[in-house]
């Protein structure tokens, strides 16, 4: 993968199995987010990226995952409740609506379901972004720096949720560089350094 003619990540080969929770770590600028974006098809790359046997970028590959970007991407003119409904519609998972609402309540946003996210803090917006993803039951969950901006309680909640998701047979890939994450999640570590991946 290259940006502006500069190689960001190269010679990356790894397989993530169902039921695995992997933490992609590395120093700032190592290319963690770039790699994640390439996996979901947001950045063009050379080589093959398959999601459960389907080449990334295509419609059938997009059926397989849910992605949480590092900066929440929300509609300022949809309420939290409407986000949940919309998300369920997009992914054609009617039950995801209620599950997302449930996650919002667990994250302490139950009183704010009918508010717009525009006035909410970074952490609250991150909770909405995560709730939408956690409400979905996709084989692969990709999260870019998901713990950023969360209070301690919410961090614990998210860690448990991700572990449960992996235990239920889903594959989870997240980025982060916090040391404590490794201890908390007991993940498979993928170390990205100088554009090379150490599995």
């Amino acid at each position: 993968m290259s940006l502006g003619g500069v190689n960001i990540v190269e010679d990356v080969t790894f397989t993530l199995e169902r039921g695995q929770l992997a933490l992609l770590t590395g120093p700032n600028g190592a290319g963690k987010s770039t790699l994640l974006r390439a996996i979901v098809g947001l950045l063009p790359s050379r080589g093959d990226i398959d999601l459960f046997g389907r080449p990334n970028g295509g419609l059938s590959a997009r059926e397989q995952f849910v992605f949480v970007p590092d900066e929440p991407a929300l509609y300022e003119d949809l309420t939290l409740r409407e986000h949940a409904r919309f998300n369920a519609l997009v992914y054609r998972e009617p039950a995801a609506d209620e599950r997302a609402i449930d996650w919002l309540e667990r994250f302490g946003l139950g009183e704010k379901l009918d508010e717009f996210p525009g006035t909410h803090s970074r952490g609250m917006r991150q909770k909405l972004s995560l709730s939408l993803a956690l409400g979905l039951e996709r084989p692969l969950t990709l999260l870019d720096e998901p713990f950023n901006g969360l209070d301690l309680g919410s961090q614990e909640l998210l860690a448990e949720a991700l572990q449960e998701r992996a235990a239920a047979g889903g594959a989870v890939l997240l980025t982060g560089h916090q040391q404590e994450l490794a201890a908390r999640l007991n993940p498979r570590l993928l170390q990205l350094e100088d554009g090379l991946l150490h599995v």
Partner: protein, 541 residues
């Protein structure tokens, strides 16, 4: 875990989203226009616009001798438009914003379902623009050319839609998406329709110019709507549109063009940049660099260029094209600021850098012309008529040259530097920031003076004995304009690229010539300019 399966039918999510967001956005827009402009004001303006248009149409009288048939020119222009459309396609004609990109484009929705609403909006804009152009043509054609063309509006509206489709198809099959792009159906469709249009139009243009057809048009030419008054002129555009629309939908059945995501992200940032600048301008606050709005340099030209580099995946996005040597760590503050401004100039793409230098050279010439022949600076010139001195003679010439210099300087000052809580003295800031622009202009005065001298008296250039005072005068003007522009823009928050600080700087620089010339003491102008320069340099803003 559920096992999601691919479905072809729309999920209803996009209509759900649009029903809410578009309605709310429209309501916000309605309230905003109502408060900011007023609907009655708009209605009043629209009424008078209609009245003026009707009055204008009624006054249109046929020419005594009609102009020759425009068919050849129209075909040539059409061929050029299609050619440029086929050669383009590096960037998408429409994009998704960040939210749609993450929430919809990455979701298992068909790309066409996601893009359809924006595509239709874009189509509506293109069709309205085409129809308006065609309507104007329909009104003018009888008076200018002596024929009716009442189908021009629908014909141009349809052709505008075809062009939009072609732009998308060229983008979807552009080579930067990879070697497979050339084999995509989008490529075939665009080449088929676009190539056919191009060949027909080019052939028609050639035959018209060679006089083969004698200016007679047929109803089935692509642009016949502009010259023939028959509903059949719509047939070919409709067939082309049918084909391109099918191809567009087909190109968005399953996958997005690989670079659409990153390019959308960059283009939406550029759009946000333009919007914030426009809003700042409308609000009457800092329009250029957003200092007054805390926009953190959103309007910085460098930021825009970096985004454009990112859009085209050029090296300038991630690392500078070229760099000046860093000042030593213990260098004075002004040198750091001067380095910052000079770097911004030096790191421009080569063509832009060359253009900036050319503009600076022309500004140096203008200032010299004003200084060499004007009564403000030429010894004894005060006795002459102050407004008829020479190429740029008189106080008015000084004012015009100073204004042009201010316009050119606005592109040389480098990024805005907000002192804020930093321990920087305003004098240091203005000196450091203005130094590269002033130094460049002063250096360019020398070759400009040589060129003017070589051109000699035929061009009205200064004679050799007038060169030295002219140069000195030009020096003081350069210093005055550059410093005044930097200080006023930093003090007022108005970007140097706006007219207001440029006019202030030009007026200030030309003040001695204007006033002293008017009072008949033009000999004192040069001295007064230097005194004013010193004063401006010492004002702590």
């Amino acid at each position: 875990m559920t096992s999601p399966t691919a479905r072809n039918a729309g999920s209803g999510a996009v209509p759900y989203l649009r029903r809410r967001t578009v309605g709310r956005a429209a309501e916000s827009y309605r309230r905003w226009v109502g408060r900011a402009v007023g609907w009655w004001t708009l209605l009043y303006l629209a009424f008078w616009l209609v009245v003026f248009v009707i009055a204008g149409v009624e006054t249109l009288a046929p020419l005594p001798t009609f102009l020759p048939s425009p068919a050849g020119v129209i075909a040539a222009a059409g061929a050029l438009v299609v050619l440029f459309t086929l050669l383009g396609g590096r960037t998408p004609p429409l994009t998704l914003d960040r939210r749609d990109l993450y929430r919809l484009a990455l979701a298992p929705e068909r790309p066409w379902d996601v893009l359809r609403w924006r595509y239709r909006v874009k189509q509506a804009g293109a069709a309205v623009a085409g129809a308006l152009l065609g309507a104007v043509w329909s009104l003018l054609a009888p008076a200018l050319f002596g024929f009716d063309a009442w189908y021009a509006a629908p014909a141009l509206a349809i052709l505008a839609l075809v062009l939009l489709d072609l732009r998308w198809l060229r983008y979807a099959a552009h080579a930067h998406h990879g070697p497979h792009a050339a084999k995509l159906p989008a490529n075939r469709a665009s080449l088929l329709v676009g190539g056919a249009l191009l060949l027909i139009l080019a052939g028609l243009a050639a035959s018209h110019f060679l006089g083969v057809t004698g200016g007679v048009s047929t109803e089935l030419e692509p642009l016949a709507g502009l010259t023939v008054n028959s509903p059949w002129v719509l047939l070919l555009p409709v067939i082309a549109l049918f084909n391109t629309q099918l191809a567009v939908v087909n190109s968005l059945r399953s996958e997005w063009p690989p670079r659409f995501g990153p390019q959308s992200l960059v283009l939406s940032q550029l759009q946000a940049l333009r919007t914030s600048q426009m809003m700042a301008l409308m609000a009457g606050v800092s329009g250029g660099f957003g200092g007054g709005m805390g926009l953190g340099g959103l309007g910085d030209d460098g930021q825009r260029r970096r985004l454009l580099d990112a859009l085209h995946d050029r090296p300038g996005a991630t690392k500078p094209r070229r760099s000046l040597p860093l000042p030593p760590p213990h260098a004075p503050q002004w040198l750091g600021l001067a380095w910052r401004s000079a770097s911004a100039l030096y790191r421009r793409p080569l063509l832009r850098l060359a253009f900036s230098l050319l503009l600076a050279f022309s500004a140096a010439m203008a200032v010299l012309l004003a200084s060499g022949v004007g009564p403000a600076l030429t010894p004894g010139a005060a006795d002459a008529d102050p407004n008829t001195g020479g190429v740029l003679g008189g106080a008015l010439g000084v004012l015009l040259a100073a204004f042009y210099l201010a316009r050119v300087t606005s592109g040389l000052l480098g990024p805005y530097f907000d002192i804020g809580v930093r321990p920087v003295d305003p004098l240091t800031r203005s000196f450091g920031r203005a130094l590269p622009a002033a130094a460049l202009l002063v250096v360019l005065l020398v070759p400009a003076a040589v060129l003017l001298t070589v051109l000699g008296p035929q061009g009205g250039a200064p004679a050799l004995d007038a060169l030295l005072p002219g140069l000195i005068g030009a020096l003081s003007l350069v210093g005055l304009v550059v410093l005044a522009l930097e200080k006023y823009s930093s003090w007022s928050g108005a970007a140097p690229s706006r007219l207001e600080p440029q006019i202030v700087a030009a007026l200030l620089a030309a003040l001695p010539a204007l006033l002293l010339g008017a009072f008949g003491v033009g000999d004192w102008t040069l001295l007064t300019q230097f005194l004013l320069l010193g004063l401006v340099a010492l004002i702590p803003v």
